[in-house]
Symmetry: C2
Subunit: 496 residues, 2 copies
């Protein structure tokens, strides 16, 4: 795996001095085109062993390239705001938007490797982390990102020599820490792990580039040229369209039997029973959020449903039971300019709450496999891969003690018509039925199929869908409150 | 001051039950209009004494209004990311965008009041805080925000009764803490301070509304109606234009003597001396940022200057001396959609770095009094008030151990022409001279006057402007590096 990176690659000073000015100009020009055309972000990971020149490489890139369109992220110890969210939150908040370059020293590989080398995790756990990293990178590249992963390598002898040399020089002594020597003692153990990481995560979308780290000139020129070529190649390709789906089509609706049609929409709750139940479950929800254990979990709820199915009213029955400072309702409308410059999950990651908080999404990331699918706002391959990406996203949340509660509110086509007509008679503008609502209604069948596929593919054990029969508002609201209480209760019981 | 809020206001249940549904409908409708027209944000502060119903009021607003367009901020203890920035950073990051409502429990008044009541600060310091609060609110309202400040009051007897009642009820017992009783013991002291705060900060733009807190129905109806009326009134006004400047005009350029013309642009540094000096000051800057004391300060540098004055090259000479993960270069271009929905300083606040970091602004908030003034992108009253607002902003930074270093790079009109022509000959697109550059050049005199006013009005002791003679690039780069080193050094010396 590291054979080519132990050959003793070297570049002499004359060659270097001749090459660098051209390379710099070309890099700046590529960066300018990238910023101007702005179609994709460039994510550069700089990994490798201590002393192999990660820091110097990052500094060199900052010197060669235009620092206005490049951001470097040190990714040292996480802040408390970061600790209260899933590990990936800090990377999502640092992702470069389209047209920019983000350089990461320390990446989603850093902690899995360290934890394994120091014996905190088992081999199987490392494998799991690597699978997750691969899926993340696949998603980013599918969303258009260019990912360039460098691994700076040194053989054991060379690493020892390098650390000693750095220690000898008073100007660089500060860079060698006790931790570096501790790691050096475990060189062989690290090597095995590094090899496994590189083997498992060198994918077609985002291969590792292993670079011999000893000679600074060779290292710098190699890294610079790889980046230049990668950006140029992608810029040339950017104009070409590609929307090939190689997958088989999803389950066709042969017999029109759909999961939604198995629901009993006649279920009702009369006003008296409703009021008793409402007090009971709102009181319970209120008490649960005041339990000291609640501070160790996070709650994310998702509301999806037919137009006029009563999402707003159901949400207010939840928020009415909560301290106002504990929750946030996030209505999902069209993405903003800053959101459009990022992968589609970015605008949801930014609202992931800290511990002890509740976030209610009024519509959500499921728009990708519902409206975007039905209305052809994205390509088939985009929404096809979204099922897996969404499951990965929710799995990250649930692994971090987040209770993910997803409600689909179903009403019958007749009930919707009744509500639309009733709303048209009301004066208040906020209930206005728009042209769009009527248009959506015409696509009822297409939506039903999309909903069925969504439930089949994203109802997981950790984050199941709750289908809510919503023809009767009282029945729906109680079912929602009750489900939410149960989920929070069971999550708190599982805490150590 | 509190007379009307100790009269024993009450609303009977029948009246309340009759009024509330109408009020809720009207509030929702107003909120809908606000969201749809989207011209201004609504900032609601809920202050007052313990037990006067701040929490209930906030929850009530969340129940009555549409939680999708309303955000509540608890503003408890700051997180570590917030502690590393000026106090106001956490409020800036929580400000509602245009069209939305933000409810703040705890505000920029909370800590000044507490610190004074507990004897940590003197009366004069409280006064200073209040002046700052007033200027902040003036700026926000000038930027179009609607600020509604409620103060919920209870007389001493009533507060005691209320706290005891809350304690007696098992359902509300948790809400009364030891701190509440500690504060109660200091009721008179707090009262004096509250009175002073309300008197000093009840301005024409943002008056305090003191509401008697005892009767929940009276309190709720009053708060709801004030909010409704305020939003409605502003919505009606929103269409009317108002750009009246009542101030005298600034210093006219009678004799054409301008501060920029006092600069000796013939100053030069030959290549050899430059290279020696460059190594010296880059080395020094590098050492300074590695000093342990550097972790207690923050560095914000601003680069402004004529087109083609060499800002980019100067910035690279600074970043070249820094660890890449310690700095960020923020190029200021046209604001994004999310930025346009906020006061103009918001997009700079969001980039204020934490401790031990350097942020370089390539162009900055001074655009307001330069390009926006000269090109009439904002009204005269807007840029006239910007001088004071900018000084307030920078004062907040410097009070928080931030070194604010501002460079204006000056070249002569002839030198600019020479550089423009030279650039036109270069193939690289990034150096392209645009139509806009030529147009700016035609407004040379207007810019000169704007620059003079800017320096006169915003060069403060804590955040002075450094005018850089930039006809010779070497001279300019060394002057910049040297100044930056001096400023950092002197800031570190002042640390305790």
């Amino acid at each position: 795996m590291f054979e080519s990176a132990e050959l003793g690659h070297k570049v002499d000073k004359a060659t270097y001095d001749a090459e660098v000015p051209k390379l710099r100009e070309a890099l700046l020009d590529a960066q300018f085109d990238l910023a101007e055309k702005g179609k994709f972000p460039v994510i550069i990971l700089i990994g490798g062993v201590d002393g192999a020149g990660r820091g110097e490489t990052v500094n060199l890139l900052n010197e060669w390239m235009d620092p206005r369109f490049l951001q470097t992220h040190g990714m040292g110890d996480p802040s408390d705001e970061e600790m209260e969210r899933p590990m990936m939150w800090r990377f999502w908040r640092a992702l470069p938007p389209k047209g920019r370059v983000g350089v990461f020293m320390g990446s989603w590989y850093t902690w899995p490797i360290l934890n394994r080398a120091l014996g905190f995790t088992k081999a199987a756990e490392l494998d799991q982390s690597l699978e997750r990293a691969k899926r993340l990178e696949k998603m980013l590249t599918d969303e258009g990102a260019l990912i360039i992963k460098f691994w700076l390598h040194l053989s054991k002898d060379k690493q020892e020599k390098r650390l000693k040399a750095l220690e000898k020089n008073p100007k660089t002594r500060w860079r060698v820490t006790k931790r570096d020597w501790d790691h050096f003692k475990r060189y062989d153990k690290f090597l095995t792990i590094h090899e496994s990481v590189i083997r498992h995560t060198s994918t077609a979308e985002a291969p590792w580039i292993v670079v011999e780290g000893e000679d600074a000139r060779y290292r710098g020129l190699t890294v610079g040229k790889v980046i230049l070529e990668a950006i140029r190649k992608r810029l040339d390709e950017a104009d070409k369209k590609k929307t090939s789906v190689r997958a088989a089509p999803l389950l066709p609706p042969i017999d029109k039997l759909n999961i939604l049609e198995t629901l009993d929409l006649t279920q009702k709750l009369d006003k008296k029973k409703f009021e008793v139940a409402l007090e009971k479950y709102q009181g319970k929800l209120s008490m649960l959020t005041r339990d000291p254990r609640f501070r160790q979990i996070t709650v994310v709820t998702v509301f999806e449903g037919n137009d006029a199915a009563g999402k707003g009213g159901s949400i207010r029955r939840i928020t009415g039971a909560l301290e106002a400072r504990l929750y946030q309702v996030v209505p999902i409308a069209a993405p903003t300019e800053e959101e459009r410059a990022q992968p589609y999950l970015w605008r949801f990651w930014r609202h992931v709450p800290r511990k002890g908080r509740v976030t209610v999404f009024d519509r959500s990331w499921y728009g990708r496999v519902l409206v975007e699918r039905v209305e052809n706002f994205c390509s088939e391959s985009d929404w096809m891969r979204a099922y897996g990406e969404i499951n990965d996203f929710e799995a990250q949340l649930t692994r971090h003690n987040t209770v993910v509660v997803k409600f689909w509110l179903t009403i019958s086509k007749e009930e919707q018509l009744r509500r639309f007509k009733a709303r048209e008679k009301i004066g208040f503008k906020r209930f206005k039925i728009t042209e769009e609502d009527w248009r959506n209604r015409e696509k009822w069948d297409a939506y039903e199929q999309a909903i069925g596929d969504m439930v089949d593919r994203t109802s997981t054990e950790a984050a199941p869908w709750t289908l809510v029969e919503a023809n009767d508002k009282n029945f729906a609201r109680i079912k929602i409150l009750k489900t939410l209480c149960q989920r929070i209760e069971s999550a708190m019981k599982k805490l150590k």
